[in-house]
Symmetry: C2
Amino acid sequence: MPFTRFDRHVDRHARTFTERLQQLCRMPSVAARGTGMRAMAEAVEQQMRRSGAGTRVFKMGSGYPIIFGECGAGPRCFLAYGHYDVQPVGHLTEWSSGPFAAEIRDGRLYARGASNSKGDLIARLAAVETYQKVYGKLPVCVRFIVEGEAGVGSPSLYRFTQEHAELLHAEGCIWDEGAKDTKDRFQLSLGFKGIVFLELRVHGARTDLHSKWGAIVPNPAWRLVQALSTITSPKGVITIDGLSSHVAPISPEDQEALQNIELDEAGLKREFRIGNWIRGMRGAALVKEHIFGPTCTICGIHTGHTEAGAKTVLPSAAMARLDFRLVPDLTPEIVINLLREHLDMRGFKDIEIIELGSAPLAKSSAQSSVARAAMSAAQEIYNVPPVIYPLDPSSGPVGAVCGANTPPTPVVSFGTSYTGSNPHGPDENIRLEDFLESIKFFGRIIFHLGKQGRRESGIHKAYVASEHKK
Amino acid sequence: MPFTRFDRHVDRHARTFTERLQQLCRMPSVAARGTGMRAMAEAVEQQMRRSGAGTRVFKMGSGYPIIFGECGAGPRCFLAYGHYDVQPVGHLTEWSSGPFAAEIRDGRLYARGASNSKGDLIARLAAVETYQKVYGKLPVCVRFIVEGEAGVGSPSLYRFTQEHAELLHAEGCIWDEGAKDTKDRFQLSLGFKGIVFLELRVHGARTDLHSKWGAIVPNPAWRLVQALSTITSPKGVITIDGLSSHVAPISPEDQEALQNIELDEAGLKREFRIGNWIRGMRGAALVKEHIFGPTCTICGIHTGHTEAGAKTVLPSAAMARLDFRLVPDLTPEIVINLLREHLDMRGFKDIEIIELGSAPLAKSSAQSSVARAAMSAAQEIYNVPPVIYPLDPSSGPVGAVCGANTPPTPVVSFGTSYTGSNPHGPDENIRLEDFLESIKFFGRIIFHLGKQGRRESGIHKAYVASEHKK
């Protein structure tokens, strides 16, 4: 399919689209902090309207609004998920430029949220706008669902999926997670791991004490360390009683898909600056573990005095945050229950487990219409064939959104990022070249989704004619 | 000994002495932060001069000055140690009033440093001043050594003990550590545990990563937890290979002293708000462990994201701070070497051990002149007999100061604090009543030290006559 008029329009408006993205990136919208969220939600709605979408704003209780935008029409409907909140910025000193300066250097736009995932949102809206300017009406109905709580466990989105399931009826769902790999191969995911994010808390004396009491006063930090050390082995294997028996064997279809995935081990090691992977794994074993291995990650531990200055205290409390990424057939409930039993069995009944957030896993077939459209579009846009992930190692509320339909809506996911995007760390960035390519890619997906329908209804001639007018 | 004129002078000047203390407490002097240290050093020197001491200021390299003050004369010389720096304030929200407001409520002075240990410093200077105003010249030479780095490992004081050992020749040394116990019994210590304060560091990827990498990228937080869990048992016993064989058996003399020590277990439990002591110990076993048990305390752990907001990261680094309190015959070197071997043996060669500070232990006899003077003075001042600790569970550079002489200078230690003083936590405070009592106590110690000499030289009549003039 020649898509020259579309691409030319994108190239001609590259500066405009980039400036729109910069505008959004200059607005801090850290959900965990709560600053600037209202202004950001309004800006997102405005951008949607500019792209020709009819919008509705859903406010679930005291949560940040979900911006819902619909363009195109017809019985065939697809969801496009996005989020306008960003991760906390972390230590400012680690950033080369302000996290909300949206500075462009060497063709990269640096900003908290550029990669995760304001770049995707603006690119997809730009694609819809361009499509309509160049070809007229969209061939299918596209429903944007853009939330503001991706970084804090998406409570509003979960509620939304329950209260407005009718808006989620769709033939497919397009998520915004993904990045090119170290060899710059475009990645398409056909599913996501689930997640459960927990905080473990231990309490000791009412306040931090002078550490001279160390011989006789129980230290919650030691207790936490002893409890944690039973959860994984020194080799990094999860050792929670009974958990491994809940992990489903990998299906033959998925085994086959795994064979096409190659991790650029050397490139990633360089990128991460690490010497070895866990347990010295490599090759097929490494890929399999990455995609289908359940994880238990210590995301943070804090206890006592850790700032500058030698302060010898016996801490009054200790806490650890753990996230588990869930593969088939693990669920958040299974993990929490098994962990509770595991700790109780070892005398750690005093250790509190608080659930900070969770999401079920989502998984779909390569034969779904969204998967086929995305694969066709990727073949046209990218020089090398895309790498298909049967499961993305990351997680999100995608499980709840896709699960609103029975059977669950097929999902595909991809993003504007690359391996150097560092979406949860300092100097988050995207390459502007990738951003423009993303717009062109999303435009082609819309075209292919429409073509699938037209094949059945035979009404695709108008589009071809329109393109040939160029 | 009637000490009425001395006590009357103290009572008449109670407000002046209290205001001097407030003045010092209103000056922040957190060595770990470095703010206000110069002004505080000058204020200390001024207070010493006001008390009739000749002063010298020693600046060791770039450290905070040591203020040296000498009053009285004669061949018999005693050291009085103090420090003008204070601990970091911790979380401001946990304080009922500003840590440097020096607010007086219900007869208590609340301030960071009030208990640890500006109260002791001002009380001792006030005692020297009062003694001279009431009786004339001191009967012995008292040398104040007041440092500004007690909270950061006392590097200058260590250097001072090496470069100015001649100033440390003394018959006895009076330290400033100690507090009344929960039953308000005055405590006298005849020694201190040693200490070694370490930081363990583990490094992972070059930056915090998205935790979706948790199945394959090594997590330094897990590695730290696994390593730490081998250092103590779940029951709180230090399990470093070979360490217990370096702990000396308790001498018969110390066994006897232990029998006179009683921990107010119920009172302390209420104070600390804890249900049980380590391993459910109580009675004599608890006292023995508290005084003669080596400790390994996790003072702090930090890794990853622990602030508000659900940030699921795979941390790039993890660190723990451990302090070991050392009993006979453990030394900092023994602990560091054994810990290194212990970790290496278990495959944790990558875990860095950084020594943040250390001090040898100090221990002396109940028959020393300072011990006898302090016990006599305590019998006169306090209603109940003092409790003698053969070893104080706390530590400091006292080992280096006392070790400047051969044999080591006998040390006694006591303080103006009580069990509610919370010297390393929020709402640090002392009772003003204790503060005034401290002045009277220190005055009597000077008298008894002089009397010991006069017994030998027969020149004590002048003092008795002077007192009878009242």
